[in-house]
Amino acid sequence: MNRYRARTLTLELVMIAAGLVFAFPVYVLVNLAIRQPSDTSSPIAPTTSPTFGNFTQAWQQGALGGALANSVLVTVGSVVVILAVSALAAYPLARVAARWSRWTFLLIMLGLVLPFQLAALPLYQTMRDLGLLGTPWALILFYSGLQVPFTTFLYVGFLRAVPREFEDAALIDGCTTLQGFRYVVLPMLKPVTVTALVLNAVAVWNDFFTPLLYLSGGAQQTLPVAIAGFVGQYVADWNLIFAALVISIVPILVVYFALQRSIINGFAGGLKG
């Protein structure tokens, strides 16, 4: 069963056909994004006289540069806080068998089933009272709390499988608990941190509902909301819209193709964590 036979070739062709079906929307996307607005031929016919004008126009009129910067700020800020507080919290939760530890862990895990639609509206009011609505800080604060349960879950699961002899040795050598955490535990958490980093960064970067609520009407938007606003403004100007969509996808794909092994392993990593 390890030799390449006629049946393997058939399978290969079927799989490539499936791949092409999956890629078809992407072909349409690029094909229309480089098409001049005056060209009204079928969306599947290859564009004959391509233009890059749509991209410059979309970039300028959609204020996509500012939105891109906001998305980067929100994603980096949130992910740093999420990873730091979750890893710190996971340490006692994984190591201490006392009753307070088990109950705290269960309380945090409750967050895995609560859909945030329930919290979103009351929190909207609090954000308004604090004057945070319309600023990226509202989003960073929000994600920092929202992603704690899932990330803590990943860290606790991983830590429980890590032997504690190294930490004990560090304590014997005179480290404080915090130093032991910083110099001994944290480096060992690297694999699960990659998983947590990838999953959180993708979730925050792609989220649409939260910025729609907490940033709407403001001048500062993240990329998904800016795109939605752009579509609302240029309703039928699909060539322009598609150029904006391409611009928003490119940063993701560049990172993906540069780091695809870590990213795919990150997503699959939930399986072991």
């Binding site: 069963m1 390449y4 393997t8 399978l11 290969e12 799989m15 499936a18 791949g19 999956f22 929307p25 229309l32 079928s42 599947i44 806080v81 507080v85 979750s86 710190l88 919290a89 340490y91 006692p92 068998a97 006392a98 307070w100 309380l107 945090i108 409750l110 609560l114 859909p115 639609q117 329930l118 919290a119 979103a120 509206l121 604060l141 929000f142 920092s144 709390g145 803590t152 032997p163 004990d168 304590l171 993708v202 792609n206 649409f208 509902f209 609520l213 990329l223 998904p224 795109i227 579509v231 819209i241 598609f242 969509l245 996808i249 993701i252 794909l253 795919i264 997503f267 699959a268 399986l271």
Partner: protein, 313 residues
């Protein structure tokens, strides 16, 4: 320090790990490590959720400080509100359809890629790529593709199936299934990657042994591969059912819940009732219904699947 020294003496005897667990001699990891996470979690999730549960029984409009307790009034209204009952039904249909189709397709793709075909690495990378694209962006792309003059209809015309052309998102009978199709396209690769991680943990020797014993491909899958994939099934089913129940972005961008209410889910209706109709109390009552559905589904699934996992191992 005396604690640490005691510990060292314990180590000299090379005590097995089991004896060391729960020993009182070790210095405990301090509880305050959990404080930053707990504060953020309480501020963003716990306190607002608790307030949400309370508001669900009021007629709060989201702005005015006066509102009154109306008991189960919002829930009674829901029963008579076709938009709400339909949204609950759509939410369930979408969640089940996505769970079956996305994981079925994901599993087939994973089995296909987990062979010796030459394109396996390229296919894995490309099939997974849609899962990373911002959902709202892929939904806008599909809104055009599925439009009356879109690429799907053009393609059908080109291959001589012009009679199959449809208004995929404008026809109330089709729109919900078009939404499901878009999500399956986007996330089948995600399911595939998780199944693939499970498949690669199945030792090749077991397959070869089963093949030598005369088991066919289907039999080998059912008796060898499937039980070993149980953890991958658990994760995949959990992800797709919870994601399906909470679905918002794709519906918002593809159809806005229309035509009429034909594709409204609980999440889109919650948004509309709160921010376009100003009915916060009612909207939060809908959110509470969603919470109950998600909790029941995930707890039930967790219990059912962990039993299946234990049975398989």
């Amino acid at each position: 320090m005396t604690v640490a020294i005691k510990d060292r003496h314990a180590d000299v005897g090379a005590a097995p790990p089991s004896r060391r667990r729960g020993g009182t001699s070790r210095r405990a990891v301090p509880w305050w490590f959990t404080v930053p996470a707990l504060l953020l979690f309480a501020f963003v999730v716990l306190v607002p959720s608790a307030r949400g549960v309370y508001y669900a029984f009021t007629d709060w409009d989201g702005l005015s400080p006066d509102f009154s307790w109306i008991g189960f009034g919002n829930f009674a209204d829901m029963v008579d509100d076709p938009a709400a009952t339909q949204a609950i039904w759509h939410t369930l249909v979408i969640a089940v359809a996505i769970t079956v189709l996305q994981n079925g397709l994901g599993l087939l793709l994973a089995l296909g890629v987990n062979t010796i075909i030459k394109s396996r690495n390229v296919l894995r990378v490309f099939l997974f790529a849609p899962a990373l694209v911002t959902p709202i962006v892929s939904a806008y792309l599909w809104r055009n593709i599925l439009g009356p003059d879109g690429a799907v209809n053009s393609l059908l015309g080109t291959v001589g199936l012009g009679s199959w052309r449809q208004d995929w998102l404008g026809d109330p009978d089709l729109a919900l299934w078009s939404v499901v199709g878009v999500i399956v396209w986007q996330y089948a690769g995600y399911s595939m990657v998780i199944f693939l991680a499970g498949l690669q943990a199945v030792p090749r020797e077991i397959h070869e042994a089963a093949a030598i014993d005369g088991a066919g491909a289907v039999r080998r899958f059912w008796s060898v591969t499937r039980p070993l994939l149980a953890p991958a099934f658990t994760i995949n089913l959990m992800l797709s059912i919870i994601g399906g129940l909470k679905l918002f972005d794709q519906v918002y961008a593809l159809t806005g819940g229309g035509p009429g209410h034909a594709t409204d889910t609980l999440s889109t209706l919650i948004y509309k009732d709160a921010f376009t109709l100003g009915e916060f109390g009612y909207s939060i009552a809908l959110a509470l219904v969603l919470t109950v559905i998600v909790s029941v589904a995930s707890t039930g699934q967790y219990l059912g699947l962990s039993r299946a996992e234990r049975a398989a191992s």
